[in-house]
């Protein structure tokens, strides 16, 4: 089938699809007039019952914590998949790759920046139950800040920070920790993922109860998973480059 035939069949179908979609969308209650009841109920009860000021995080890690466990495992499985695909055939690590950034100023500034970003990320995870943030956002931010190490220093420094030997345990423990906390409640005779330690003190680090631990394990998992992913891609990029250097 040529491209022209494909587009000729596709455009009318897409038009019909769009019309149907629009027909559905105009049936939604007017913008800004959400009718509930789910969200309104949670907004009402989350603070009094769970002592968490950030309702979104309480939904993510407490009310619908089981969904989040599934999402976390999507991350986990996708990373396993990327590793499986990119690490086929046991790629060699380059011995030495002279790609360090020349200026000391850049390096010092970079290290400071990395430190600051890491601190902000940890703060995002820790105070997720109080202010915007939480394990998912903080974990992603943490991984992003560690990638800065690669950008401001050398590949050598990077591979010291992010090797799969160091990261895989975090990945596994983060994902497994979530399940173990859930199972803990189950062994105690309560439903899976029951928040046994809550409610905590509103506005503090411990406002989450045991959901705070869930939050931290999710943060660990998200950060480790993203870092493994970035490591795999960076190696994919750097290693052939290094091989090219030595050959040329």
């Amino acid at each position: 089938m040529t491209r022209r035939i494909r587009v000729a069949i596709f455009l009318p179908a897409l038009g019909l699809f769009g019309v149907l979609l629009a027909w559905a969308l105009v049936g939604i209650p007017d913008f800004g007039h959400y009718r509930g009841p789910y969200g309104y109920l949670l907004n009402r009860v989350a603070l009094p019952e769970r002592h968490m000021t950030n309702v979104v995080t309480s939904v993510v890690f407490d009310y619908r914590g089981f969904d989040t466990m599934g999402e976390e495992f999507i991350l986990f499985a996708a990373v396993l998949g990327v590793v499986l695909l990119l690490r086929q055939g046991g790629r060699e690590q380059p011995d030495e790759l002279n790609d360090s950034v020349g200026s000391d100023g850049v390096r010092i500034g970079g290290v400071l920046a990395v430190g600051a970003c890491v601190l902000v990320s940890l703060w995002l995870i820790a105070y997720g139950f109080v202010t915007p943030g939480g394990g998912f956002q903080g974990g992603a931010a943490l991984a992003s800040s560690v990638v800065l190490v690669f950008l401001v220093s050398s590949h050598k420094a990077w591979s010291g920070v992010a090797s799969d030997h160091a990261l895989d345990p975090f990945d596994g423990v983060g994902a497994g920790g979530y399940v173990v906390i859930g199972l803990g409640a189950l062994i105690g005779g309560l439903p899976f993922l029951t928040n046994v330690l809550g409610p905590g003190v509103p506005g503090t680090l411990w406002s989450g109860g045991s959901a705070a631990f869930v939050n931290w394990s999710a943060g660990m998992e998200v950060a480790a998973a993203n870092l493994i992913l970035f490591t795999e891609f960076i190696d994919e990029y750097v290693v052939p480059l290094a091989a090219g250097d030595t050959a040329g």
Partner: protein
């Protein structure tokens, strides 16, 4: 025009699909997939929006203040973080295809496959 935000979400979905079908490059295709996915974020958040409502965070705000729906936000935020890994998975497949066939044009790939 108070359904305008939903229609924007619908448009993003449709244009993303258009990009996927007409794409000539697997990386382009993967990014179009993320565009289609972003339509779900826009739609979900628009659905849960309350006019005049603040974020569902009651830190320094009296409980009972009008706030938007927290559920759609929780559904969206995990999905966004996950989307990178799924994108990476598809790109990893695309890279392996490229290693073998030296092309990322879906039409050419099918041709070379026979």
């Amino acid at each position: 025009m108070s359904v305008f935000p939903y229609l924007v979400a619908g448009w993003i979905c449709v244009i993303g699909l258009y990009g996927i079908v007409t794409s000539k490059h697997l990386i382009h295709l993967a990014l179009c997939l993320t565009v289609t996915q972003s339509s779900t974020y826009v739609l979900l958040l628009a659905v849960g929006y309350v006019q005049g409502g603040g974020p569902p965070i009651f830190k320094g705000v009296k409980l009972g203040t009008t706030a938007v729906d927290p559920v759609v936000q929780s559904l969206t935020l995990t999905d966004i973080v996950v989307s990178v890994t799924v994108l990476a998975l598809i790109l990893a497949l695309a890279l392996d295809v490229h290693d073998e066939l030296d092309t990322m044009d879906p039409d050419r790939i099918a041709e070379l496959q026979g």
